[in-house]
């Protein structure tokens, strides 16, 4: 065409083509955009889950199928019932027609009634109004009465008709009764089957009607999927556990259940992820558990990004590189960028518990976490690192104020340089010869420092009065004692490491040091004095006093000092290198003095001064004082970083140095650090005193994992008070007591709240082992408990193991007792003394029940000092102690069913005669009158038995 004539520039077809092409692209891009928006990871999961659910339901229907015989029988019954119904049909019809008429009438009457009641309300109002306004009340009242009358009338009428109707109904029901019964039985039988079938109708397209099937497809179509989608995001909003967005905290929103659809459905226990049932439904998820899903959500415990709706954006973190690889190909997973609070990898999931169970010394169901915390107590991480949880805990390591009385300098040197060369499983960590201070030149420095430290310690050590000699004891008797009196509640003697993994029980067993090589460590004199009275040498030692006689002490001393470590004795400490000493002294001085001054200062000092100076600086530098009480360091501050919120420290604040072989996550950092505390100094060039100095505790794999879990748990939380596990006063009280109990290792010997008592394994026979204290609070009187704790008395004469005397203050005892009481739900401190006085009758009956040919308590129980007839192993506590010791109502409970209170106890259920037992010819010869009278009334009998027990030993 002639563009010029047309006054155009472009060929129209050109333009058309361009426009055509671009519009097609436009359409395409719009479609892509929509597809991209419509296709979501979670939708796929929901579809898949639904199929799985259909399969499951089908299976359920299979299993729910009923026994045909029963079914046919019922069907028959129904049939006959129907037949009869048919027979009565005419009657029914008649009733029906009558009813219809009556109903019509009723409707009429009722309407009148309803209407007039409304009028009545009005009339009442008018009357009241009239009365208040003081005029027109006359007419008002008149009107009111009229209406009232009307209402009455209509009421009568409608009630009449109602009654008539009810009559017909009654007849009908009687006629239909049989059929109803039969069919209801039928439904009964098919109940759960029909439940499944109804469900199947909802989810299984093949089971659906045509229309539903269409709808089922339509509802999830693009664009239309806002009308009534079956595939939609599931979300749980938790208002009192909140997420921190720095400027504010916002309610948790967890969408995890959009994919984890089977989480609360037991049917999916072994379905593949993400449909798997939660492994622990007793504790979590379901509304009967203590952590219902709707109140706690998911990320409150597991962490992660609850709003995430895709595998990656939810913040999943793999347990190991292996799983990471698997996820990458399966979900093209990558660590969620720009979100600190990622999900805890499976092995650390217990970390989440600490958020709410903050003050519990042992958290049930979170064994790994508890182990981690316990290790932190043992290794006293809180010595160097401030941790709120352990604030005002005292130093864990031995008191060194009197060290010169206990050790030789030689030993101290070798011990400090490498503790494990003396004791393979000590909690004393290794500071020296680590990856960042093992070069020859470093050794030159460190050896000097050790010399100086030892020197400082011994110079500042006080003297302790030890007996000049100890009477010689017998090793064999000593060993026997050691193994019987209860030393093994806290101590082991393990010459070689055992190949067992650490767990909480082992922690109880190894509460005190492993006592190998005592001979190479301390003099008999010291050991003797120590075991006789630990607090004599170290006032704040937690070692209890077993009240050993001098002879027993001597024997045990003989046994312990007999154990020596020759390999350790064999090596000798190197001599002190004075030049090196001067160097170190100079290096310290020059840090805050000019070269010249420092030099001259060093020259001024004599050897002793140099040693003291370097010693002091070294102790400060390595923080020895944070575990040991060292004169001159009473109020030095912790040297490590605070760990109270370590779990929520941003990862980029953790210095990985040049360690790149591990994924940079906080838990990897913790694990690496705990396995080798100096690892992040690798390839760093630092002056000695700026290098990492956290000592090496040689933790095993399990231990490292446990501690890491605990560290992750030490995170900031935004949990509302009433969601906290220790939100209530009782919990706090129990926790306070239990903390002391754990700290003094009562559970080394006793089972308390279902934990501990390992010593049984060593003693062998539970009946010769320390008692189980599970219900102690309900059992023993608080004042007796207190007396007993202060000065233990023999209760079970047959036990060789002793209850030691603990160096506890009154308030601590009170805490413990209260903990016992509150955990047993018996919280009264003072109670009116129960006594058998004046209850001659009941006491008599009790005595009879306890007598030789009835219960025969004396067979096992010591009676006011009179030993039982049975073998020693079966002996039981002296009943004479009961009145002071036991709560009267507990005794009754106990007698009612001992097993219920203490499973596995040897205490048999006493014979309590029932009516039947005493109703036979000549019962009188067997039973006293009183017994026959009371028989059948178990409570009374039990109480009488209790009263008798109270009377034992009374004159």
């Amino acid at each position: 065409m002639d563009l010029k004539k047309e006054e155009r520039y472009y060929q129209p077809d050109e333009l058309h083509r361009w426009f055509g092409i671009s519009s097609v692209l436009f359409l395409a891009s719009i479609i892509i955009m929509f597809a991209n928006d419509y296709i979501r990871e979670w939708k796929g999961h929901q579809r898949a889950f639904r199929e799985a659910d259909v399969a499951l339901t089908r299976a359920n229907i299979e299993s729910a199928a009923v026994d045909d015989a029963v079914k046919t029988e019922l069907e028959a019954a129904v049939a006959t019932a129907e037949a009869q119904l048919a027979a009565d049909q005419s009657q029914l019809d008649e009733l029906d027609s009558l009813k219809t008429v009556a109903e019509g009438e009723f409707y009429w009457a009722n309407m009148n009634f309803m209407g007039t009641t409304a009028d009545l309300d009005e009339a009442r109002y008018l009357l009241e109004h009239g009365l208040t306004e003081r005029h027109g009340e006359m007419e008002a009242r008149k009107h009111f009465e009229e209406v009232t009358a009307k209402v009455k009338l209509f009421k009568l009428q409608s009630e009449g008709f109602q009654a008539e109707i009810d009559g017909y109904d009654a007849e009908t029901t009687t006629l239909q009764a049989r059929h109803k019964k039969a069919s209801s039985e039928m439904n009964e039988l098919l109940a759960d089957l029909s439940v499944f079938e109804r469900k199947l109708l909802l989810i299984d397209p093949e089971a659906m009607s045509m229309a539903n099937r269409v709808a089922n497809v339509m509802r999830d179509l693009p664009v239309l999927d806002f009308l009534a989608p079956s595939i939609k995001i599931q979300q749980i909003i938790v208002n009192d556990i909140r997420d921190d967005v720095n400027f504010a905290v916002v309610p948790k929103v967890d969408r995890c259940t959009s994919c984890h659809l089977g989480i609360d459905n037991t049917g999916f226990a072994d379905a593949p992820q993400p449909y798997t049932t939660h492994p622990n439904l007793d504790l979590f998820i379901i509304s009967a558990s203590s952590h219902p899903m709707n109140e706690f959500g998911c990320t409150s415990c597991h962490a992660g990004r609850g709003r995430g709706t895709s595998f990656t954006s939810a913040g999943h973190m793999p347990a190991d590189a292996e799983q990471a690889r698997e996820w990458e190909e399966k979900y093209d997973w990558e660590p969620l960028a720009f979100w600190e609070e990622k999900m805890f990898p499976a092995q650390y999931s217990e970390a989440g518990c600490l958020k709410c169970h903050a003050s519990e010394p042992t958290i049930r169901g979170a064994e790994k976490l508890t182990l981690g915390l316990t290790i932190m107590e043992k290794a006293s991480c809180f010595g160097c690192h401030q941790i709120d949880r352990f604030d005002d805990w005292d130093r864990r390591g031995p008191n060194l104020a009197l060290v010169s009385g206990k050790l030789t300098k030689e030993f101290a040197f070798k011990w400090i340089r490498n503790p494990r060369s003396f004791r393979h499983n000590t909690w004393m960590p290794a500071f020296f010869n680590q990856t960042n201070n093992s070069s020859a030149e470093d050794k030159r420095r460190t050896d000097t420092e050790i010399h100086a430290i030892v020197h400082y310690l011994f110079e500042n050590s006080g003297d302790v009065q030890l007996p000049s000699t100890v009477r010689s004891g017998s090793v064999s008797r000593g060993q026997a004692l050691f193994e019987s009196v209860g030393c093994q509640g806290c101590h082991v003697i393990e010459p070689e490491p055992l190949a067992i993994e650490t767990d909480l029980d082992r922690m109880f067993q190894r509460h005190g040091p492993n006592l190998i090589g005592m001979g190479s460590k301390a003099t008999p004199e010291w050991v003797y004095t120590w075991i006789r009275d630990p607090q004599f040498y170290n006032p704040d030692s937690r070692m209890p006093n077993l009240r050993l006689t001098s002879r027993e002490a001597a024997d045990i001393t003989a046994y312990l000092t007999g154990l020596t470590n020759d390999r350790f004795d064999g090596t000798a400490a190197p001599a002190l290198n004075e030049d090196a000493l001067a160097d170190v002294a100079f290096k310290w001085l020059v840090k805050n003095a000019s070269e010249v001054d420092a030099k001259s200062r060093v020259d001024e000092m004599d050897l002793n001064e140099q040693l003291l100076f370097v010693g002091k600086r070294s102790i400060l530098h390595y923080g020895c004082f944070s575990c040991h009480n060292i004169p001159g360091f009473e109020d030095s501050k912790p040297i490590g970083t605070p760990l109270t919120l370590e779990g929520s420290k941003p990862t980029h604040n953790l210095d990985f140095g040049s360690v790149h072989e591990i994924e940079h996550t906080n838990y990897n950092w913790f694990e690496a650090k705990l396995t080798n505390p100096r690892i992040f100094d690798r390839d760093k060039v630092k002056p000695y005193d700026e290098r990492l100095r956290m000592p090496n505790f040689n933790l095993s794999r399990t231990e490292v994992e446990a501690v890491t879990t605990a560290l992750l748990g030490l995170a900031k939380s935004n949990v509302h008070a009433d969601k906290m596990a220790d939100g209530k006063m009782d919990d706090l009280i129990i926790n306070r007591g239990m903390t002391i109990i754990k700290d003094y290792n009562c559970q080394g010997c006793h089972i308390i709240n279902g934990q501990g008592g390992q010593i049984v394994d060593i003693i062998g026979d539970p009946n010769l082992s320390p008692p189980n204290l599970n219900t102690q609070g309900a059992k023993a009187k608080s004042d007796w408990l207190y007396k007993f704790f202060k000065s233990p008395t023999t209760i079970r004469p047959n036990l060789a193991v002793r209850m030691p005397t603990f160096p506890l203050a009154d308030d601590q005892w009170n805490d413990i007792i209260r903990a016992f009481q509150f955990s047993a739900g018996a919280t009264t401190t003072f109670e009116t003394p129960h006594s058998s006085a004046g209850k001659t009758n009941s006491t008599f009956v009790g005595a009879y029940l306890a007598s030789k040919d009835m219960g025969d308590c004396a067979k096992c129980h010591v009676m006011a000092g009179k030993n039982p007839t049975n073998a020693r192993t079966d002996w039981a506590p002296d009943l004479a102690l009961a009145k002071d010791r036991l709560r009267p109502e507990w005794i009754v409970d106990w007698l009612r069913d001992p097993q219920a209170i203490m499973p596995g106890t040897k205490m048999p259920q006493p014979f309590i005669p029932s009516k039947a037992d005493v109703e036979f010819e000549g019962a009188e010869e067997y039973f006293p009158q009183a017994v026959i009278r009371m028989a059948g009334d178990d409570e009374a009998l039990l109480e009488s038995l209790r009263d008798y027990i109270y009377s034992v030993g009374e004159k």
């Binding site: 472009y10 333009l15 671009s22 692209l25 921190d244």
Partner: protein, 372 residues
């Protein structure tokens, strides 16, 4: 492999070197004077604006970016969602600079041959708006939409951790289009880099039509007629704006340290920034008599130098080289122009002083927040 190449590129892209290169190259690429013109031709730089030259440049840039993508460090930076627009910017700027210069050269050639410029169809050659213009506009919009949608589908918008006032990311960067300013902040105090210079830029741009009194070449692409103005504009636009943005985005890492494209952004990297004030140079390093107590005395040197720079140079120029200009424009607008020009040149000068002698401030009066 290619490590040697990466090393070289890293080295070349250090601000001092790369900026110098740019500053040297630009006048040869956009020759403002005959002398440069001569070398421009001699070096065959005019071929850049030929079709082939265009493809050449395009290939070069693409090759570099592709090469960059396969390097783990540079790749990381390039693939940051918010850096994508800058890559587009690079391409677009390159393409349109080329296109404009291409048409300009074409027109210049036509004019040289005494023909009419390409855009010139004479007054009576008119087109109806409907359908042509309307139609191509519509098409353009549709294509733009397509482009936008594809971009949005392909590249999710970034969202980092929740805002946290107590924890600033390293490095903390302004939006990319302000990175030029943030780069200036390295060399100037906020009140200059953040307030005065932007104001100058805006004012300068708005003043442009009044400054540039050259009536020629209005309404068509042409270089020959407006060499100087195009050269200055290119220098400002490419060297002082686009280039600084690129540096700020790609080459500024943790602690605002400079990192070559193929360098790893390690927080550990340490660079000494012991900067010295001019006053210290004079009083301490030179005279060794410590700083005078009164600020006026202390800063006298700097003040004098600046006065010389902004006061004397214009006069000298007015007397000499730019006499013609002064006569044409009159003193006021001349003063304005020369001031803006000097201010613009002041930026590179200061940058060089920093690179060469670690000069911090020419005038440093922290008492009054007055540092230059």
């Amino acid at each position: 492999m290619f490590d040697w190449l990466k090393e070289i590129i890293n080295l070349l892209s250090t601000p001092s070197i790369s900026f110098t290169l740019l500053a040297v190259i630009i006048p040869f690429v956009f020759p403002p004077t005959d002398w440069f013109e001569k070398w421009h031709r001699r070096l065959g730089l005019h071929h850049l604006w030929s079709i082939r030259g265009g493809w050449g440049l395009f290939g070069l840039i693409t090759a570099f970016l592709v090469f960059g993508f396969f390097d783990e460090n540079f790749g990381k930076i390039l693939s940051k969602p918010d850096n994508v627009p800058i890559m587009m910017l690079i391409y677009f700027v390159f393409f349109f600079v080329w296109l404009s210069m291409h048409s300009a050269y074409a027109n210049d050639a036509r004019l040289a041959r005494g023909e009419k410029v390409e855009e010139d169809y004479g007054p009576d050659e008119k087109v109806l708006v409907w359908p042509d213009l309307v139609y191509i506009e519509l098409t353009a919009l549709v294509l733009m939409t397509v482009f936008l949608i594809i971009w949005s589908v392909g590249l999710p918008a970034p969202l980092e951790e929740p805002a946290n006032p107590s924890l600033s990311p390293n490095p903390a960067k302004a939006p990319w289009y302000f990175l030029g300013l943030q780069e200036m902040l390295v060399y100037f105090d906020p009140w200059l880099a953040g307030v005065i210079f932007p104001t100058f830029i805006i004012v300068g741009l708005m003043a442009l039509p009044y400054i540039d009194d050259n009536p020629k070449a209005s309404g068509y692409y042409s270089f020959a007629n407006r060499r100087v103005s195009i050269f200055i504009f290119m220098f400002g636009f490419l060297a002082l704006w686009i280039f600084l943005i690129v540096v700020g985005t790609f080459f500024r890492g943790p602690n605002w340290n400079f990192f070559g494209p193929f360098e790893e952004w390690s927080i550990a990297k340490v660079v000494p920034l012991t900067n010295v004030n001019l006053s210290e140079y004079v009083w301490v390093k030179l005279l060794r008599i410590g700083l005078p107590s009164h600020w006026l005395v202390r800063e006298s040197v700097g003040i004098i130098m600046l006065l010389l720079y902004f006061g004397v140079i214009p006069v000298v120029l007015a007397r000499g080289k730019l006499r013609g200009l002064v006569e044409r424009l009159g003193p006021t607008s001349y003063a304005l122009i020369i001031f803006l020009a000097l201010a613009m040149v002041f930026l590179p000068i200061k940058m060089y002083l920093r690179w060469t002698i670690n000069l911090k401030y020419i005038i440093a009066i922290p008492e009054a927040f007055f540092n230059i």
